[in-house]
Amino acid sequence: MEYNLTNELAVRSTKNVYRDGDKTIKLFVPDYSKANILNEALNQARVEEGTSLNIPKLIEVRKIGDRWALVSEYIEGVTLESLMNNHPEKMDEYMDLFVNIQLEILENTVPLLSTLKDKFRRKLTEASNINDEIRYELLQRLEGQKNHRKLCHGDFNPSNIIIKENGEHYIIDWAHVTQGNASADAARSFLLFSMQGKASLAEQYLRTFAQKSGIDIRNIQRWVPIVAATQMTKGREEEQAFLSRWIDVIEFQ
C-alpha cells in the first residue's frame, strides 16, 4: 500500500517521521546504512516478541522510492516529557513513574540482543575524539564491570514514553536497545537529563533510581564517564566540551 506522507511529526538529520492514521513511518535519508535500519527493526521485533512490554508493534520494513522506511503502530497520547514540562508541580509523581517504567524494562531479558559491553567497547575503540590515555582508562573501567543481561533501552528519556488517555504507557524508539547493566542504562538517562541542562532533574532521577532499584549510586556513577564517552562518538559539536570534562576522571587503586 502507499502511505500518506503529508503529516510530518519530526525531522532529524537521518530521518523524517510521519503519521498516517494508526501508523508511524520512519523514513530514513537515502544514504543511511541499511544494516542500521534492519538492525533497528530486528531489535524492535525481538523486544516486541520477547517481552510483554507495551511497545508499538512493528508492521513492516520497506523501500519507499530510494529510501528505507520502518512502519510501526502509531500510539496516540502525550509524551511524559511534555507532561513533565507542563506540570512541573507533579514532577515527583512523574519521576516515580519514569523510574518504575525503566525498572519494568530492566526486569526483562532478551537473549539475542547484542550486549551493552560489546557495544560500548566497540564505540570506545572507534572513538576518534578521545585521547588514548583516557580511552585506556575507560576501557579498563568498562572491563571491570559485571556482565549482566538486563534489557536496557539505551535511550531512556521522558520523550520516549507515551502516556495514552487511559493512563497506559508505551515505550518507543528501541534503536539503541541492548542487554546489559541496569547501572549503565541509568547512567545514560542521567546523562540525557544533564545534557539538556536539567542538572537538578538529573540528580533527582539518580536518587530516585538508586532508591527504587537498591543499586548504590556509586555503581551508577562509575558508568557515567563511559556512557559520556560513547555519547562523544556521535560527534555532536555542541556537546563535546561538556562531555570531555565528564570523561577526564580517574579511578585510582
Partner: protein, 668 residues
C-alpha cells in the same frame, strides 16, 4: 584495572583504593601530628594511596590544630572557596584527572581560587562524612578534609564512615599518646583496614619500613576481603614467588595412656580405698551410682570403708540407663553443695559416664557442652582444648559389670533429654585417676548383663585390633583379653557367682579391652551399634554382637571401595590381623580367609553359648520399623565418631548393606 585483571581469567594480585582518615586525639602531640600529616600529604603531592584524605580532630584541640596547619603553610578554605573546590575535584563521583598529583596552587587555580603560591595543602572544613560531600572522597592530591569530632567515639564513627565510603581494607591512622592503650585498642578494633598506623605520616608509614618495622616496603597495598582483594598485606616479591614444600610421609605419634592407678584382684576394693586417707588425705567423697546398685547395697562396701576411715560422703543414686544431661546437671549441683575432693563412680557404663560428666560440670561449670562434643579426626590434634580436670576432685571408677571398660577409658556418652541427641565426649582429661577392678563387685551380675557386657568386651577387642591406630601395646592387651573371654565368658555366664575365677578373669579381660580401645579406638561395629541402640533400643553389647560378623567380613576385604586414611595404615591388611587373632585363639585354618571364617564361627558359637540371638529381627524389631529407619541409621552411623578409625572407610550404602544382613541374617 584491578577488576578487569580479576576478570581476565588469569590469576591477579589486586589491591584497592584508600580513603585514609587520621584522627588527632586530644592526647596527641599536636606538633608531631600536624607536621606528619603535612609531610605525608605533600609527598608526591598526595599520590600515595595511603595518604591522609581527612583529618578528624577532637573539638577540645581543634582550634590549636587548625592554627598549627595554617602556621605551617596550609590554606583553610572559606565556604565559598570550598564550594568551588568541590566542583573541581570530583566529577560525578569520580576524581577529576586534572587535579591528580598537582600542587595545591595549581589545583586552586583550576578552581579559580587565589592562594599563596607555596601553599602546601588545601583544607576544607566540612561536616558530612557522606559521599555527597566531595571532600569525603579520596582526592589523590594535596587536598584534605578537616572534621571536628565531639569526642573519641564520634571520631571513630566518622573514621569508620569515611573508610566505608571508599577505603575499605586500606589504611587508617591515629595520633595519640601511646599510653592510651584502651583508646588505641578501640581504634584498631573498629577500623576495617589492613593497616592501622599510629603517630605516623600515613604515606611513608603505609608503604612500610621507614616509620615502622612491621609493614613490608611496597607501593602496592592489599585491602583484604574488606576491599574485595585476594591479599591484605603489602605486596612484595614474596607474593610472586612459588613456594615449594617437600613433604615426606611421616607417621603420627601414638601413645598409650591409662589411669595412673589400676587396682586389680578380687577383694582389692577396701584395700585400695585406704589410700584415700593414708596417701591422699581426702576428706569428702561423692558417690555416683544407680538406684538398683544403691538399693542392693553395692555402695555399702565403699561407704562402710569410708565411715571406718572417718571420711565424709554422700551418694547420688539416680543415674538412669543412657544417662541424661539433666541427671548430670543435677549431680553436679549436688557436688557444688557438697564440695567433694574425691568422686567415686560405682556401676556399669552409665554410672561411670554420668559421673565423668558431673565431674566436668563440677570442675568447669563455664565449659560449653557443644565445644567438648566437637568431633575430630585425631584425638591428638583436636581443635578444642579440653579443660584441665582433677583440680577439685580425684576420680575413682569401680565397675560392677565386665564389659564397658569405662573405668579406664577417656570416653563418656551423655544424652540431651530435650533433643534425644547423644553426645559422645572423648578426651584423656576424662580418664579416671584410679580404677578399682574388684570381682566381688560383679559376682551377682544377672546372666543377661554378663552376656551383653561380655560380648561388648569382645567387640572392643576386635575393633581395637582392626583400628588403624592399633599398636603392639593395644594388640597385646586385646589379644590376651580375647583369649580370656573365649575361655571364661561361657563359665561366668553359666555359673555366675559360683565360679569366682571366671568372674575375676572376665573383670580383668574387660578392663584390658578398655585399655586397648582407650588408645586404639573403635570402628564401625560401634558406629552401627550406637544407632541400633538409639533407634531400636537394643542393648549396646547385643547390638555390637549382631553386626560384628558382617563388620569382620567387611573390614577384611583386600580391595575395599575406600580404605581408611591414616599414615600408619599402609595398605588394606585387616584380614591378616583377624587371622592373627584366630591363630592366637588356636582356631586353625589353612589360609587367612579360612582363619577369618573360623574366627567368625568361634564368635557365633560364643554368642550361642551365652544366649545371644542371631539377628536384629530376633530381638523384636519389626521389619517395617527397621526399614523405615534404615536410611537414617546408615547415614548417622557413617557420621559416628567411631567410623574415623575403622580400617575400611565405609560408604553409607555399605553400612546399610551390613544392617540388612544383620537384620535378615547372613547373605540377604
Amino acid at each position: 584495572m584491578v577488576k578487569s585483571a580479576y576478570s581476565s581469567g588469569k590469576p591477579a594480585l589486586g589491591v584497592g583504593p584508600g580513603n585514609t582518615p587520621a584522627i588527632i586525639d586530644e592526647t596527641a602531640d599536636i606538633n608531631l601530628a600536624v607536621n606528619s600529616i603535612i609531610h605525608s600529604k605533600t609527598f608526591d603531592n598526595g599520590m600515595i594511596c595511603a595518604s591522609e584524605q581527612s583529618v578528624i580532630i577532637d573539638e577540645k584541640i581543634y582550634e590549636i590544630v587548625r592554627q598549627e596547619f595554617i602556621s605551617r603553610g596550609c590554606y583553610v578554605l572559606n565556604s565559598e572557596e570550598a564550594d568551588k573546590l568541590r566542583k573541581t575535584i570530583i566529577i560525578n563521583g569520580s576524581i577529576n584527572a586534572k587535579i591528580v598529583g598537582q600542587t595545591a596552587n595549581t589545583i586552586a587555580k583550576l578552581a579559580e581560587i587565589n592562594v599563596p603560591e607555596n601553599t602546601k595543602i588545601l583544607i576544607g572544613e566540612v561536616e558530612s562524612v557522606d559521599l555527597k560531600e566531595e571532600f569525603a572522597h579520596e582526592k589523590l592530591s594535596p587536598v584534605l578534609a578537616m572534621y571536628k569530632a565531639k569526642d573519641f567515639d564520634d571520631a571513630i564513627y566518622k573514621a569508620s564512615r569515611l573508610i566505608n565510603d571508599g577505603g575499605l581494607g586500606h589504611t587508617s591512622s591515629i595520633f595519640i599518646d601511646t599510653k592510651q592503650k584502651e583508646k588505641i585498642e578501640k581504634f584498631y578494633s573498629s577500623m576495617h583496614t589492613c593497616r592501622v598506623l599510629i603517630n605516623t605520616p600515613s604515606s611513608q608509614g603505609g608503604i612500610g619500613d621507614l616509620y615502622n618495622f612491621r609493614l613490608t616496603p611496597s607501593l602496592t597495598l592489599g585491602c583484604g576481603s574488606w576491599g574485595g582483594n585476594s591479599i591484605s598485606e603489602n605486596v612484595g616479591v614474596k607474593n610472586l614467588l612459588n613456594y615449594k614444600i617437600v613433604a615426606e610421609r611421616r607417621e603420627n605419634m601414638l601413645w598409650f595412656r591409662a589411669p595412673e592407678k589400676v587396682y586389680i584382684k578380687k577383694g582389692c576394693l577396701p584395700v585400695a580405698l585406704e589410700e584415700l586417707k593414708n596417701v591422699m588425705n581426702k576428706k569428702r567423697v561423692f558417690i555416683v551410682t544407680d538406684t538398683f546398685l544403691f538399693e542392693n547395697g553395692y555402695t555399702k562396701q565403699v561407704t562402710n570403708k569410708l565411715d571406718e576411715m572417718g571420711i565424709a560422703h554422700t551418694t547420688f543414686s539416680n543415674v538412669e540407663p543412657d544417662p541424661s544431661l539433666a541427671t548430670a546437671t543435677a549431680g553436679a549441683e549436688q557436688m557444688n553443695n557438697f564440695k567433694p575432693d574425691c568422686i567415686i563412680a560405682i556401676g556399669g557404663g552409665s554410672a561411670m559416664d554420668a559421673a565423668k560428666i558431673m565431674w566436668v560440670l563440677y570442675e568447669h561449670p563455664e565449659v560449653d557442652f557443644l565445644d567438648m562434643a566437637m568431633r575430630f579426626m585425631d584425638i591428638r590434634k583436636r581443635v578444642y582444648t579440653f579443660p584441665k580436670m582433677g583440680e577439685k576432685a580425684y576420680f575413682i571408677a569401680v565397675p560392677t559389670s565386665s564389659g564397658t571398660g569405662s573405668e579406664v577409658t577417656p570416653f563418656a556418652v551423655i544424652t540431651d533429654q530435650r533433643t534425644g541427641t547423644k553426645y559422645p565426649l572423648a578426651d584423656y582429661e576424662l580418664m579416671p585417676n584410679m580404677a578399682i577392678v574388684d570381682a566381688n563387685m560383679m559376682m551377682n551380675a544377672p546372666k543377661g548383663l554378663t552376656a551383653a557386657s561380655g560380648i561388648d568386651a569382645v567387640s572392643h577387642d576386635l575393633e581395637a585390633i582392626a583400628s588403624m591406630m592399633a599398636t603392639d601395646y593395644t594388640d597385646g592387651l586385646a589379644i590376651k583379653s580375647l583369649k580370656t573371654i573365649f575361655e571364661y565368658l561361657p563359665r561366668a555366664y553359666e555359673k555366675g557367682a559360683e565360679d569366682e575365677i571366671a568372674r575375676e578373669k572376665m573383670a580383668d579381660a574387660a578392663t584390658m579391652a578398655g585399655m586397648a580401645f582407650a588408645n586404639a579406638f573403635l570402628g564401625i561395629s560401634h558406629s552401627l551399634a550406637h544407632k541400633l541402640g538409639a533407634y531400636h533400643h537394643i542393648a549396646h553389647g547385643i547390638a555390637n554382637a549382631l553386626v560384628i560378623d558382617e563388620v569382620l567380613r567387611f573390614n577384611s576385604s583386600p580391595a575395599p571401595t575406600k580404605m581408611g586414611t591414616f599414615p600408619q595404615y599402609e595398605y588394606p591388611n585387616t584380614l591378616r590381623k583377624y587371622a592373627e587373632v584366630a591363630e592366637n585363639l588356636g582356631l586353625g585354618g589353612n589360609d587367612d580367609n579360612e582363619k577369618l571364617e573360623n574366627l567368625i564361627k568361634a564368635i557365633d558359637e560364643l554368642k550361642e553359648k551365652i544366649g545371644i540371638k542371631k539377628t536384629i529381627r530376633d530381638y523384636g524389631v519389626s521389619e517395617e520399623d527397621f526399614l523405615k529407619t534404615l536410611d537414617q541409621m546408615s547415614e548417622d552411623a557413617f557420621d559416628d565418631q567411631c567410623t574415623g578409625t575403622n580400617p575400611r572407610y565405609p560408604l553409607i550404602s555399605e553400612l546399610k548393606d551390613i544392617y540388612l544382613k544383620a537384620y535378615y541374617g547372613g547373605e540377604s
